[in-house]
Symmetry: C2
């Protein structure tokens, strides 16, 4: 049985999980697959921090170069995160003929094209199941299992922190800040949760899903991204009364030959499969011309689930290495019939809108007149309170409208004397 030599760069939380799993599951995988996975080296710039796993001192190094220059290493697991120096390490590994397994969504979103090209040129492969959806096998589903499908849409709840916060707000009436505090207390939110909450983490993952589903490298800068930081408890409650949940949704779908790709809080009918995804769980809904509607659900983060995905990638590569076979990076871009990105202004959507308006005759006529001018028709409207002194919330659901028109209409409505505060608009997704 040929040993396959594995090295790890980045000995943080996930790295520790991988080390634990490779030690604990060594025999199990050997019996199950006839593979000897040998973790030979671990590099991290910080070797002082105590980790909850025992590692021989000899395996540890501060220098990634000790791994990248070692001709005996077959597979490098990159878990340092961020773009630099992760990118340089990954490229160096590939150029040295090593396969790479990574969970680094920011790196792949920013430099995937370049990295995959180098891998292909060097006759090695990059695997990244753990970069989206933790233990959920969505990368393999989109690239392999659903290979025969023309993908029509991919909708993901792919940020556990945001979903936890929105769930707490909806189910327990927490405010955003209260829910965030709880998430931090439970380790579901990091001490600096900016990238989770502002939608950027979802956007990175969506760039990867778009590549897999639609064969196009999407620049994260081209993904319209809105986080959950301005979602108000009252809107979650009004949405609930109307039969909707608000979720931070990553959306990629084909629309009139363009790729409509965006991340934002979204109203989903409570009957939608994704509406039932609670807490820090993740799920990806995929619609294809052959599979129809499909959903993959599971733990989207955490040491164990992420390590599970990393080890499945390692095992796949190790099987080829042990058999003396080459494993070549497949072409990632393919023609899926989309010719460009649909700008957010041209996106068609239904909307939930809330105005704070004075409770007096003629206000609704003013609002609906402006909406009508922009061809936005209203599917339901309700005034949530009565109060002669203060502004009261008016909640509307629209039929499908063009974002640009909606923005113009809201701009004009905002100028009406009877309206106070900025109108709230949240997109809806029906299918």
């Amino acid at each position: 049985m040929k040993k396959v030599n594995i090295a790890l760069i980045g000995f943080g939380t996930i790295g520790t999980g991988v080390v634990k799993a490779l030690a604990g599951k060594r025999l199990f995988i050997k019996k199950k697959r006839g593979l000897e996975l040998e973790l030979v080296r671990i590099a991290d710039k910080d070797l002082r921090t105590k980790r909850p796993v025992k590692v021989s001192r000899k395996k540890l190094t501060k220098k990634a170069g000790d791994i990248l220059n070692d001709p005996n290493i077959d597979i490098v697991i990159e878990l340092i995160g961020g773009i630099h120096p992760a990118k340089e390490f990954v490229i160096k590994a590939l150029e040295s003929g090593k396969h790479v397994v990574t969970a680094n969504k920011a790196l792949l979103a920013a430099c995937g094209k370049e990295i995959f090209k180098v891998a292909k040129k060097c006759g090695v492969t990059v695997r990244f199941e753990a970069s989206v959806g933790g233990g959920i096998p969505v990368v393999k589903a989109l690239s392999g299992d659903f290979v025969a499908n023309r993908i029509q849409a991919v909708y993901g709840i792919i940020n556990g922190t945001s979903n936890y916060i929105l769930t707490k707000m909806e189910e327990e009436g927490e405010t955003f800040n209260g829910a965030l505090k709880k998430a931090k207390g439970l380790g579901i939110a990091e001490s600096n949760p900016t990238l989770d909450i502002n939608g950027m983490d979802s956007a990175h993952k969506l760039a990867i899903l778009s590549l897999l589903g639609f064969g196009r490298y999407v620049d994260v800068g081209d993904i319209f991204t809105e986080g959950i930081q301005s979602v108000e408890l009252q809107d979650i409650q009004y949405a609930k009364e109307l039969g909707y949940s608000i979720k931070l949704l990553a959306i990629a779908k084909k629309d009139e030959g363009k790729l409509d790709v965006r991340v934002h809080p979204t109203l989903l009918t409570t009957k939608h499969l994704l509406a039932g995804v609670r807490g820090a769980q993740n799920a990806i809904y995929i619609k294809g011309d052959m599979i129809g509607e499909s959903l993959l659900y599971g733990e989207g983060a955490g040491e164990k689930a992420t390590s599970s995905a990393i080890i499945s990638d390692v095992t796949d590569i190790a099987e080829a290495v042990a058999a003396g076979k080459k494993m070549i990076m497949p072409e990632m871009n393919f023609d899926s019939g989309v010719s460009g990105i649909k700008g957010i202004g041209r996106v068609k959507s239904r909307y939930y809108i809330r105005f704070m308006a004075m409770d007096k005759p003629g206000v609704l006529a003013g609002i609906s007149g402006i909406l009508a001018k922009y061809k936005i028709s209203i599917s339901s409207v309700s005034q949530k309170e009565r109060n002669k002194e203060h502004a009261v919330p008016i909640v509307m659901l629209t039929h499908e409208a063009i974002e640009m028109d909606l923005r113009k209409a809201l701009g004009q409505i905002n100028k009406l004397n009877s309206i106070s505060g900025k109108p709230v608009a949240i997109r809806m997704e029906m299918r």
Copy 2:
């Protein structure tokens, strides 16, 4: 680009779907994967029936031998179903050095061990993603993506016909027969739906899932199997009032070193992920020590979804064939720490029980006295009607009890004068 030659045995509904897909997606897969999938031959004993797909007359044959003996064929897709002559065809194909892709769950459940052994000996492989859950990638998830996991439980709603019927009963108050009639009308149930309704189809699929999850060949005869034919509308309604859905569940889980493996109608709390699976959809819930709770959901049957899974298998094999690599059947059995099958009598479960009893003092005392004798404790009890003349339903939920004890208790209760008709007992699953 090396052409990969594919042949199909069995030109029925699914076969037609595969032929359509191989024709329609040929260019797409070529561009996406650089693979030329060439369907060179189709065998079926009936070549008269009109199929809704155009096939050159030259490709058709009545003799499977024309495929099995043709050295130019790389991959055989077996879609005739049933055990004979499917088994002989598959073995002959393997012995002739051809890879096999099959959707035949009955064959794999009955003869998987033998077939996989032949494949291994002959240096070829058998793939069967389509045999369980249609377009849902559960076979690859269990065998590949979750490779590092010790699987703790697999629960499947893997028969669309049964799930459709139970959904109609629950949501629309249909009787079993009324729902079955609707299912037939929509083509969701076959004209002879016996294997779907009596649980055998689920048992075949469960044998495959058990092998993948727990590394053990389970004889279908060792799977305790109860279908939905005796599920009564009133029990669905009482369960619903109590916050439960009744689903035909295929269960495989580790319990005290044994494999607890069974198929039966099961009460699931409406909060369980599987309780939301409606209509003819399928879903498989998998619990592993690393991934935690995972759910794969989608279309479990139908021409398109099944063809999607078949083509993903074909593509995987074709990639190896085109690269001149061998693809060897992996060992299917492995040590998952289960030493045998848990007999149904020893299974521990909670139960929903309904008695038809006379509405008079002392009846409940009689019933609960017998239950207590067998150490079965009651978690809730309600009498559903009041009627001095006729027997009325008494519904109980028990705490965890041993099946054998429950059966004995029910036998005794059945003999009470105040009880009319046979007691109904339905197992519950909590996790």
